[in-house]
Symmetry: C2
Subunit: 259 residues, 2 copies
């Protein structure tokens, strides 16, 4: 996000991601002057100073880069829904978003569970800070964990059995899907939400205030994204590997290799 109206009630609350007049995204969005935004893969990019954040000392630029998208996308709902000591957080999917969800929820003091299709990345999940790791391909998982979590972060963009996952929420638990689903219409069993006064909601990136807060938190806690740095000429190859889920957990392009 590189701009917003900075004038509506949501912007004035520092939640520019929900700008009522529509914010301006970094990639291929219509800018205020009518041109298309060209993204950040460049040596320079001009944005208004209100949309610039400070990368704190001690945080590498490379490991900080994914924090500005996957980081804030997981940080914001964890804060909003009260992740911390005594709270149980589940993260569905251990990918680019999920691995940061695990690191951040753990750093906030929550008890963290990864819900992944298989146990393939279990060692990684535990190393990143998860306390528990379950395979969702095992139906016992859903029976064993019923009514357990205070927050579930759903990082999986595709369709999934929402009722089965929501049934894992404790009283007042929130099922938070990150980013809007690719499905225009959403559905689930009524009772999966009505029981335990559960909450069904979404979360979209974060505002500028919270983005800076996340960066400061990460520097303080020694948290960065798990990355693989590539030179610009490897972009096509990296793209294929992203499609094949063959990255742990984010590619970062070294822009100095553009020269």
């Amino acid at each position: 996000m590189v701009n917003s109206c900075r004038d509506c009630t949501n912007c004035l609350k520092g939640e520019e991601q929900y700008c009522l007049k529509g914010n301006t995204l970094t990639y291929g969005a219509q800018d205020k002057d009518g041109t298309l935004t060209q993204g950040g893969y460049s040596t320079h990019v001009v944005v208004t100073e209100d949309f610039v954040v400070r990368i704190p000392e001690g945080l590498g630029l490379d490991e900080a880069a994914p924090l500005l998208c996957a980081g804030v996308t997981t940080y914001s709902p964890l804060r909003h829904w009260g992740a911390g000591p005594g709270k149980k957080v589940a993260v569905i999917g251990l990918g680019g978003l999920g691995h940061l969800g695990v690191k951040l929820a753990h750093a906030m003091g929550a008890e963290v569970t990864v819900l992944s299709q298989s146990l393939k990345k279990m060692d990684d999940g535990l190393r990143l800070g998860a306390d528990h790791y379950y395979a969702t391909s095992d139906p016992d998982t859903f029976e064993k964990l019923a009514g357990t979590f205070d927050v579930i972060l759903n990082t999986v963009s595709g369709n999934l059995d929402r009722g089965a996952y929501m049934n894992l929420l404790a009283l007042d638990g929130a099922f938070v899907t990150l980013g809007a689903s690719s499905e225009p219409e959403i559905s689930f069993p009524t009772f999966a939400v009505a029981a335990n006064r559960r909450v069904f909601t979404y979360s979209l990136i974060a505002g500028l205030r919270e983005t800076q807060e996340l960066l400061d938190f990460c520097a303080e806690q020694g948290i960065g994204a798990e990355i693989e740095v590539i030179p610009a000429e490897k972009i096509n190859e990296a793209y294929e590997r992203v499609l094949a889920s063959d990255v742990r957990y984010r590619f970062v392009i070294d822009i100095s290799t553009l020269a």
Copy 2:
């Protein structure tokens, strides 16, 4: 509700309505001894003392009776979702539940709007404490009120255009359906929830602590249900009138007429 396990984590939090082992409802529910509960239309009813509340001085037994169901059902979500000064609450439907939602939200200091099919009951709505009253049969209503409310209490049990109503919520607004819907599966447009970080949720009656709190609040505020008291022999007639929505706003049976 006349009993619950009083032992699970939800019961121990005073939220017996979400008892994990299943609470015992007053009417036709299976009691702990295997018999069916027989309801409250009787001169005496035996329940455990933990499920008895005190009707405060100054609150008539007749006007208090509907508070124990419609009252708590609206009070609990209003408290839970922070209705109060500076907050905008909408109530969908001005019936048995809705009229108490309006009275209570007004007494809590919120700015209250009724969303009703027509303007037929507008005078009543304003008298009960609503600040605004809109007809949902008028499409302008949905345009004019977009992004307005912090809480919407949906008291209408049937199907309705959830996306259109949710679009009326401001940032972090909650769309709360009272009681579980009669539809086993629920659906709505993804973006109606994702925008403004909205919350979709339900609320089922209330626990005992909150039920007593409501009664005390009503006595203090001079709030009772709007009722029509009938003798027991008029039950069948009253039932027909309920089906025809011809009651403002709850029938109360005078049990002394049973004799």
